[in-house]
């Protein structure tokens, strides 16, 4: 869990995309686009509609999260500040990236450990931690990190909850996250995600998965207060118990 070279790395990425920042003096972090309240409101509405219309527009879900998180993000940051492990995370700013992970070591860990199961999850669902969107519209540098951390931890949530990355799995994780974080984007995703599911899946969702997700969410301590990078060796079962996630149905 080293702090990644987030600033230099991000600036290099920005320069490669060949664009300089408009009004550099207002930019709080690389990739930041300062926006007025009207713009944020329009973005929130537009991204919500677009995310519903085209669920493959993950960038719209990200934008929705950023523009509606003005209450939930500070509250999450405070939860982190008042917890010893969360506080350390805020200070050290670890990032989960392919460049910072030692994939070979994680693969070598025993089955059932967090690291091994996480790598298994990435391979099985063919996803990578590097596809996460960087925050753009959050007007506070620390809160931008909080939402970035939330996005990076999302894949670990899949691992801990044992949910795949199909529509059903994503909705279940969103329910859990909605209870945990209170982010309006999670609430909306949880409420409207099922629109794309079949009746049979909806039944399973409603009778088994959602009640379990909500209960776990309520029971568990704040998921952002866990320094996952220092717990790769810990067995998933033990971590679940420690956080307070109930065993999956």
């Amino acid at each position: 869990g080293r702090a990644c070279l987030s600033r230099t790395e991000l600036r290099a990425r920005d320069e490669r995309s060949g664009e300089e920042e408009v009004g550099v003096s207002y930019q709080l972090y690389p990739g930041h686009i300062p926006t007025s309240s009207l713009q944020k409101a329009l973005l929130a509405a537009g991204s919500a509609i677009m995310a519903l219309y085209d669920p493959y527009r993950h960038d719209m879900v990200a934008v929705l999260g950023e523009t509606t998180g003005c209450l939930a993000l500070p509250s999450l940051r405070d939860k982190m500040k008042h917890h010893p492990e969360g506080y350390r995370i805020l200070q050290e700013r670890p990032c989960i990236r392919l460049s910072t992970l030692d994939m070979a070591r994680l693969q070598g860990l025993p089955a059932g450990s967090l690291g091994r199961e996480y790598v298994r999850f990435l391979e099985h669902n063919k996803v990578s931690p590097d596809t996460r969107m960087l925050p753009k519209f959050v007007d506070d540098e620390e809160l931008a990190y909080v939402i970035q951390r939330y996005r990076e931890v999302h894949d670990l949530m899949h691992t801990l909850l044992g949910m795949p990355t199909n529509m059903l799995g994503e909705v279940v994780v969103k329910w859990f996250e909605a209870v945990q974080t209170g982010l309006p984007m999670c609430v909306l995703g949880a409420a409207f995600g099922p629109v794309h599911l079949s009746a049979r899946k909806l039944q399973v969702l409603a009778t088994q998965l959602v009640p379990w997700a909500i209960q776990s969410g309520r029971n568990a301590s704040c998921i952002l207060n866990v320094y996952y990078e220092q717990r790769w060796e810990q067995p998933v079962e033990s971590l679940r118990e420690e956080i307070g996630i109930l065993p999956p149905p």
Partner: protein, 295 residues
């Protein structure tokens, strides 16, 4: 041209002449590169974004533009920065309908000929369905040309149409070649407008016409404020939501503000050697059509 570029690269980016990219200050080389990247990035969603940003009104502007051109069959048009082909397709539609009108007119007058003679002349004329009109679409950006070619195929345009990769500041054509030279919503993105105007002058035949369609300045204060509000608050949001690209559309609205107003552009066109230079405002100056003749 080539020598200038060579000198520029030898001097290094930092030492080049300064210009603007939206509201930023950059060197000319940086500006060219950034603009190339903007259009590379927006090419696939260019038409969708145009419709969304202008609520479809850009189609009317382009219709008015081609009507003002009023091309007759046999015209050779060069459409600079013609990218996705909007002007070229309208031109082809226009000359085709004028040509067909002329054919019908001719037939009506041939009342005394035999059936054989009539059908023979009809067939000859029908072969050239556009009456020898041609349009060359020239654009500096490969992605935009690609989208244009795909559109042409999809819409069924093939005759009288060709696509050339080229720079408005240094057109790859001989002198005195074209009857009309147009540039629609492109001159704003040219780094040296004076060079583009000189090039347009060079490639036109004597008697040829230069037409430019571009965003311009709104003098009405109330409309100007509403327009600014819409431009700066709504358009980048549309860019982010529809194309996932805030910055390109932020550049677009800034570049409109940086572009010379109507009278200044008129003077620049006159400086390039054009006569009878005039302009027509559309929508109170949101857009303007400038026209000039090479005599």
């Amino acid at each position: 041209g080539a020598l200038r570029d060579l000198c520029g690269s030898v001097r290094g980016v930092a030492a080049g002449p300064e210009t603007h990219f939206g509201f930023q200050t950059v060197t000319e080389e940086e500006r060219r590169e950034k603009i190339y990247q903007v259009f590379e990035s927006v090419a696939k969603k260019y038409d969708v974004m145009n419709d969304s940003m202008t609520l479809g009104i850009h189609r009317i502007w382009k219709d008015i533009f081609v009507h003002k051109m009023n091309p007759c069959p046999g015209t050779l048009l060069l459409d600079v920065a013609g990218g996705t082909g909007d002007i070229a397709f309208r031109f082809l539609n226009y000359v085709r309908s004028v040509w067909e009108g002329q054919l019908r007119q001719k037939l009506r007058q041939q009342q005394n000929l035999s059936w054989q003679e009539i059908s023979q002349s009809y067939q000859e004329d029908k072969l050239k369905s556009l009456g020898d009109s041609q349009v060359v679409v020239c654009d500096i950006n490969r992605e935009m040309l690609k989208v244009g070619k795909q559109k042409a195929q999809h819409l069924g345009y093939s005759e009288g149409l060709s696509w050339v990769l080229g720079n408005a500041e240094e057109l790859p054509f001989d002198d005195d070649k074209f009857d009309v030279c147009t540039i629609a919503f492109g001159i704003r993105n040219v780094t040296r407008i004076d060079l583009a105007l000189q090039e347009a002058y060079r490639v036109l035949k004597p008697g040829g016409r230069f037409l430019c369609l571009e965003f311009s300045h709104v003098s009405n204060p109330l409309l100007s404020r509403l327009y600014d509000l819409y431009s700066f608050q709504v358009i980048p949001v549309l860019g982010e939501v529809i194309a996932g690209d805030w910055r390109s559309y932020q550049y677009l609205v800034e570049s409109i503000r940086r572009f010379p107003p109507q009278e200044e552009l008129k003077a620049m066109i006159e400086d390039a050697g054009f006569f009878k230079v005039d302009y027509q405002n559309l929508n109170s100056g949101i857009v303007a059509i400038h026209s000039g003749f090479k005599l």
